[in-house]
């Protein structure tokens, strides 16, 4: 029973943090694009923002590429990056006693950075997330990843008492 509860908590924490990171990355891209349009003199109302953001969320849920015959959407790419990073962190912490909040935050930060770098390498320098084309934007996205790691650790450690 304990193991099942633990798995549910881990799964719930991961899904929540990955969803948050995915949505925040989308939000950053939306804001980035709309801010540029505003600078060009376009009228960006709250309605325009909400409509664009909701479309971007839908877009991130639609497949962006088919790999090994499986359609992959943007959320899956982010989730896979975070999953690998958290697994590596979990294994590393078995050997090296590092503060868990710091290590998962760092893993989240690094996972977004590695994901974007690998995508750039895969597509010959093309950056698919428009908000990551400048260093400031890239840093913000990595911080979003760190926030995801922080949230994951926070949620996992919030429930052990109840699980026990």
């Amino acid at each position: 029973m304990f193991v099942i509860k633990k798995i549910i908590i881990l799964g719930f924490s991961f899904v929540l943090s990955a969803s948050l990171v995915g949505s925040a990355v989308i939000l950053q891209s939306t804001l980035w694009n709309l801010f540029w349009l505003k600078m060009q003199g376009f009228d960006i109302s709250l309605g325009t923002f909400l409509l664009t953001f909701s479309h971007d969320i839908q877009g991130a849920l639609s497949p962006i590429l088919v790999q090994w015959g499986v359609p992959i959407n943007f959320y899956s790419v982010i989730s896979a990056s975070l999953l690998i990073a958290f697994l590596v962190t979990f294994l590393a912490r078995l050997m090296i006693p590092i503060n868990s909040r710091f290590s998962y935050s760092f893993a989240g930060f690094l996972s977004i950075y590695v994901m974007i770098t690998l995508t750039i390498m895969q597509y010959d320098g093309i950056i698919l997330i428009s908000g990551a084309r400048e260093n400031t934007g890239l840093f913000v996205l990595c911080c979003v990843g760190a926030l995801g790691g922080f949230l994951f650790d926070f949620l996992v450690n919030r429930f052990p008492g109840r699980v026990k």
């Binding site: 989308i26 891209s29 939306t30 694009n33 709309l34 540029w36 349009l37 060009q40 376009f42 325009t48 409509l51 664009t52 479309h55 971007d56 839908q58 877009g59 991130a60 849920l61 639609s62 962006i64 959407n73 943007f74 010959d124 320098g125 093309i126 950056i127 698919l128 997330i129 428009s130 084309r133």
Partner: protein, 371 residues
């Protein structure tokens, strides 16, 4: 019973009519001239009947009247062959018979980054000489993507050059201080014509003819002097545009496409002082080249634009009326390959190049002749 007869008659009518239409559509035959090209990109026609072919992999070859493909011509400058970069367009000077001048566009690496470069050279008996750089785009990027790279001679012998947005620099298509996302106009010695639309403005690069483009790989002039260009959109939003000097074609402020990650590039599809396309495609067809057809072999096609498409791999015959889109016909899908280029040969046949990007030396050159 009456209903049964009615349905049967309709079925038979459709059956025979569609058969009639099919045979009417196939008024051509395809003849493969070569199937050993290495990622062919463009073809142009020399006055002596030879074809000049560029390969993205950095080769320039001659396909002569006897059907022999030459070895790569020597004397080309250093070319960046990577991703979408490489040897691209060929433009033969309108007075080639006298001056032997050809013009080539390609991607190259400079200290500031990768960019689009144009050289002119003299071609004599399969030998290049007097190779001179006449233009280096102020569009330096770290990627090897979205160079545009089409060349077109106007009737006054000035040269138009399409320069893409470099993918990662799309916002600069709206900036008049760079050559990203522009159509440029220069003289054949590389100088700037004084009647360019922004020539008198000190704060704008004088070569700029039009702006707000993405990755324009089709650039033609019709027999009335109207210039047309098409450009790749992102996910959807490929455009065919009527090009007029000084105008803004909107990218990325207005677009019918969305970003590759599914997000919106811009929620706006139109805006003041930004041109609307004559036609746009959602989903994308990935337009790769274009030709204006005027020839004796297919009189029914006279006045049509033929647009080659990489995705799914066909050619679109587009008709316009009064410079407005009228109709589109999907053709040559039976080639079953990404189509990189389509050109009208001097004899009125169409010449099609397939992309050949899957395997080395598999690009095809196909001639379209009447049945």
């Amino acid at each position: 019973m009456r209903k049964y007869l009615h349905n049967t008659l309709i079925f038979l009518a459709i059956f025979f009519l569609s058969d009639e239409l099919n045979s009417a559509e196939k008024n051509y035959q395809l003849e493969t001239l070569s199937n050993q090209l290495d990622r062919p990109w463009d073809i142009d026609f020399l006055p002596n009947g030879d074809f000049l072919i560029s390969e993205l992999t950095g080769n320039l070859r001659i396909f002569n009247k006897r059907g022999v493909l030459s070895q790569p011509l020597k004397g080309l400058p250093s070319i960046l062959v990577k991703s979408q970069g490489g040897l691209s367009d060929i433009a033969i000077h309108p007075n080639f018979s006298d001056n032997k001048l050809i013009f080539l566009s390609f991607s190259s690496t400079k200290s500031q980054g990768n960019t689009l470069q144009v050289v002119r050279a003299r071609l004599n008996n399969e030998t290049l000489s007097d190779v001179r750089t006449i233009f280096i785009a102020n569009a330096f990027r770290e990627t090897a993507a979205h160079f545009g790279a089409r060349l077109l001679f106007l009737s006054d012998n000035t040269l138009l050059i399409s320069s893409g947005d470099g993918f990662n620099h799309r916002e600069k298509a709206q900036s008049l201080n760079s050559h990203f996302g522009k159509i440029l106009r220069i003289n054949i010695d590389g100088s700037t014509p004084s009647d360019n639309p922004f020539f008198a403005r000190k704060d704008i690069l004088p070569e700029i003819w039009t702006y707000g483009h993405r990755n324009q790989q089709g650039l033609i002039i019709d027999n009335n002097g109207a210039v047309y260009s098409h450009e790749h959109g992102p996910r959807g939003g490929d455009e065919l545009n009527l090009i007029k000097p000084g105008l803004n074609y909107g990218w990325p402020a207005i677009t019918y496409g969305i970003d590759y990650n599914g997000s919106i590039v811009s929620p706006f599809k139109e805006a003041d002082n930004m041109e609307q396309p004559l036609k746009y495609w959602v989903p994308s067809i990935a337009p790769s080249d274009m030709t204006f057809y005027e020839g004796p072999l297919f009189p029914e096609w006279n006045g049509s634009l033929f647009i080659s498409a990489l995705s799914p791999g066909d050619v679109r015959r587009v008709t316009l009326r009064d410079n407005k889109f009228e109709s589109e016909e999907v053709m040559f899908g039976e080639i079953n390959s990404r189509i990189r280029s389509v050109k009208t040969a001097p004899d009125g046949s169409l010449i099609i190049l397939t992309d050949g990007s899957k395997d080395k030396n598999t690009g095809q050159m196909i001639r379209v002749l009447p049945n």
